[in-house]
């Protein structure tokens, strides 16, 4: 059957125009992201792995034990996660995937930071304006129903193969919970507290920073946790456009039908996921 509307062609033309007219911008974005990712990778890899394991372990321990870190109570709370972190990271290292694990972590960190940089302000905006909410809501719904692969297409159009399209696709994929939960947290702040703020002469800025954001903190942190996990879940897909790390090994494993490789790198991702999840959850609980 002949096409009645050649929608794909129009989109293609549109994207071409965007790509050409804003090529400076895409180049700049590419530079910044690639540079940041590489810089972080180099830095982390320059540190002896044992130091990093020690730091992450202590971080995980402290996140759970808090101020009671050196008391019996704190030890009880923090020791199991700390143990898991040590063993898990040592396993990754022993399997020979330390470098890839660092690359994956860097990718997740960079993507998460960018997602939060956009997501939290968008969430605040959606919470404060019903119009904004009406616009943002359906877009988020659409973003979450779309298969993750779809985000690779525009990313690869604007940026050549490498870490950048991987980061960009990951950012888009993991952005929605940051927006949603920020907005939810702010909207759930009790009306009477806001009203008290107004009655005592708070400006809008004071209402936001002294009342809404602190009271929404737990919800926003839950959102950050979800962003991180979604970002991590994208690493295999991101590797299809050239992002490096454990995801790329999994992808190789699939392509080469190499069960050992696929299993080991997959296990590595799971370990990272559990560590990141537990640490952020512990932080959110405070």
């Amino acid at each position: 059957m002949d096409k009645l509307i050649d929608l794909g062609k129009y989109i293609e033309q549109g994207i071409n125009v965007l790509e050409e007219s804003l090529s400076g911008l895409w180049g700049a974005i590419d530079d910044v992201i690639s540079w940041t990712v590489e810089f972080l990778n180099d830095t982390f890899l320059a540190i002896p792995f044992i130091v990093i394991i020690a730091l992450v372990t202590f971080g995980a321990y402290y996140a759970n034990a808090g101020k009671k870190a050196f008391k019996k109570e704190g030890i009880k709370k923090g020791v199991s996660l700390a143990l898991f972190v040590v063993l898990g990271l040592l396993l990754i290292w022993a399997m020979g995937y330390w470098k890839e694990a660092i690359q994956t972590t860097t990718l997740v960190i960079v993507a998460t930071i960018i997602a939060l940089l956009f997501g939290i302000p968008l969430g605040i905006w959606a919470a404060r304006s019903n119009t904004a909410n009406a616009i943002i809501r359906p877009i988020l719904d659409l973003m979450q129903t779309m298969p993750a692969f779809v985000y690779l297409i525009p990313a690869i159009f604007f940026f050549s193969v490498g870490n950048t399209p991987g980061v960009i696709a990951t950012v888009i994929f993991s952005l929605p919970p940051a927006v949603r939960l920020t907005s939810l947290g702010i909207r759930n702040v009790p009306e009477d507290v806001i009203e008290a703020g107004h009655a005592f002469g708070a400006t809008d800025k004071q209402i936001l920073f002294k009342i809404q954001l602190p009271l929404a903190k737990t919800t926003i942190l839950a959102g950050i946790n979800q962003v991180i996990l979604l970002a991590l879940s994208m690493v295999v897909i991101a590797s299809m456009v050239g992002a490096k790390g454990l995801g790329a090994i999994v992808y190789q494993g699939i392509q080469q039908n190499d069960i050992a490789k696929g299993f080991e790198s997959g296990l590595g991702i799971v370990v990272l996921a559990i560590i990141l999840d537990r640490i952020t959850q512990a932080v959110a609980k405070k």
Partner: protein, 414 residues
């Protein structure tokens, strides 16, 4: 109360309309169209309808009215949490309704503070930080605001709680923090919207006393909303009664009680209705001491009576079933005769009531007797508590305490 005091707040023809077609609704209101009609035609609610009154400096001005009569809307117009649709609010000598946003912030920060029914405290901040929140908002240094917040907390009797969090305090104490927060700003006017309504009766009464004490020292101008007439009479210098957004009457409690301006006001201040509403359950003293016929002998009975200073007590059996009352003199006599069981001296010929009995139904029962009424469970006859004669008479009449005592004396002489 001398009336040559300065006027602090003057409200002139203040109208507030909720909804989109305000101007249209306002015009209809001026033409005398009713609130219902306006709602039907424009979907606008008239919150406050051309209210005019003056509040004197140092006065406690109470606003009363049924739910939905516009009390909150009116008080919120005073600091423009609700934007008035028409009319003026003149504070000292400037019109608050014409203030720019900046001036309005300044007014809220320095001249008027509000206390809320739901407290409105910040859960993530300590009591001290909450009390100093108003000062923080207006940019005062930490040391200075902590100092003032501390003093304010002391004023409301919360010394020593500075480092705790709101959730660790009872409702009454949380509201003290709310009051301290308002006082710390040292405003000239306090706006209190049902500030004590969420509190238990006893704590409420404490808070009222406290407020009066504070008022004695600080002489603020207080606008106080309540729907509790007793509270209004206790703390108010003058009372305004609202109905459907209109201020129906303003006057002292005496004025309003003796000269109600309309049937609405009359119904509002009449307690006649209460007689048919208040039940034994509300009035009774729960878990009142009772004698247990299978355990308590005459000696135990005397002891129990003396410990709570009464000369008569209800008696129950081992299943807590109410049997009757015994009197001290009978018990003493029994003791003299070396009797062991109270059974002989129980007066079973006494009235008892069920929980749902109203004051009106109970009143006839107390004529000719001088002991409290036992409240019992309908199915089992289980003893639940006592309703005293005094509480019945207070509920039933609008007499002063003195007259109640006289009435009781008369009853006793019977």
């Amino acid at each position: 109360m001398s009336d040559n005091r300065k006027t602090k707040i003057k409200v002139e023809d203040l109208t507030l309309i909720f909804g989109k077609r305000k101007q249209e609704a306002l015009k209809m209101l001026e033409q005398g169209v009713s609130k219902e009609e306006i709602l039907k035609k424009t979907k606008c609610t008239v919150g406050v309808n051309r209210a005019s009154f003056e509040i004197k400096e140092g006065e406690v001005f109470v606003i009363m009215g049924l739910s939905g009569s516009g009390k909150s809307t009116l008080i919120r117009c005073l600091n423009r949490l609700n934007e008035p649709t028409a009319g003026k609010v003149i504070f000292d000598d400037h019109d608050i309704t014409r203030e720019t946003n900046k001036e309005l912030l300044e007014t809220r920060r320095t001249e008027m503070s509000m206390v809320f029914q739901k407290f409105g405290l910040l859960p993530h901040r300590t009591i001290l930080e909450n009390a100093g929140f108003g000062l923080e908002l207006r940019g005062e240094e930490k040391a200075a605001r902590d100092e003032r917040a501390k003093t304010a907390l002391e004023t409301v009797g919360l010394k020593g709680y500075e480092a705790q969090y709101p959730a660790e305090l009872s409702g009454g104490m949380q509201q003290r923090v709310g009051l301290a927060r308002a006082l710390a700003n040292d405003p000239e006017v306090l706006l209190m919207d049902e500030a004590f309504s969420a509190l238990d009766p006893l704590i409420k009464s404490d808070m009222q006393d406290e407020l009066l004490e504070i008022q004695d020292k600080l002489h603020k101008t207080i606008v106080f909303i309540t729907h509790d007439l007793d509270e209004a009479i206790k703390i108010g210098d003058r009372i305004a009664i609202m109905k459907d957004g209109v201020v129906e009457q303003i006057g002292t409690a005496e004025d309003i009680l003796t000269n109600p301006a309309s049937e609405y006001v009359e119904a509002f201040v009449e307690k006649v209705d209460r007689k048919t509403i208040i039940t034994a359950e509300t009035l009774m003293f729960k878990k009142h001491t009772a004698l247990e016929v299978h355990k308590d002998g005459p000696k135990g009975a005397v002891r129990k009576m003396r410990s709570i200073a009464v000369d008569q007590l209800p008696v129950v059996d081992e299943h807590k079933k109410f049997l009757g009352h015994v009197w001290l003199q009978d018990v003493l006599e029994l003791e003299k005769e070396q009797g062991k069981s109270l059974e002989k001296v129980i007066n079973t010929n006494v009235p008892s009531v069920y929980k749902h009995y109203t004051v009106e139904e109970m009143l006839p029962l107390i004529t000719g007797i001088r002991h409290p009424l036992a409240v019992i469970e309908e199915e089992t006859g289980k003893f639940l508590g006592l309703v005293t004669q005094t509480s019945l008479i207070i509920e039933a009449t609008r007499f002063e305490k003195k007259e109640v005592i006289k009435l009781k004396e008369q009853a006793n002489e019977l």
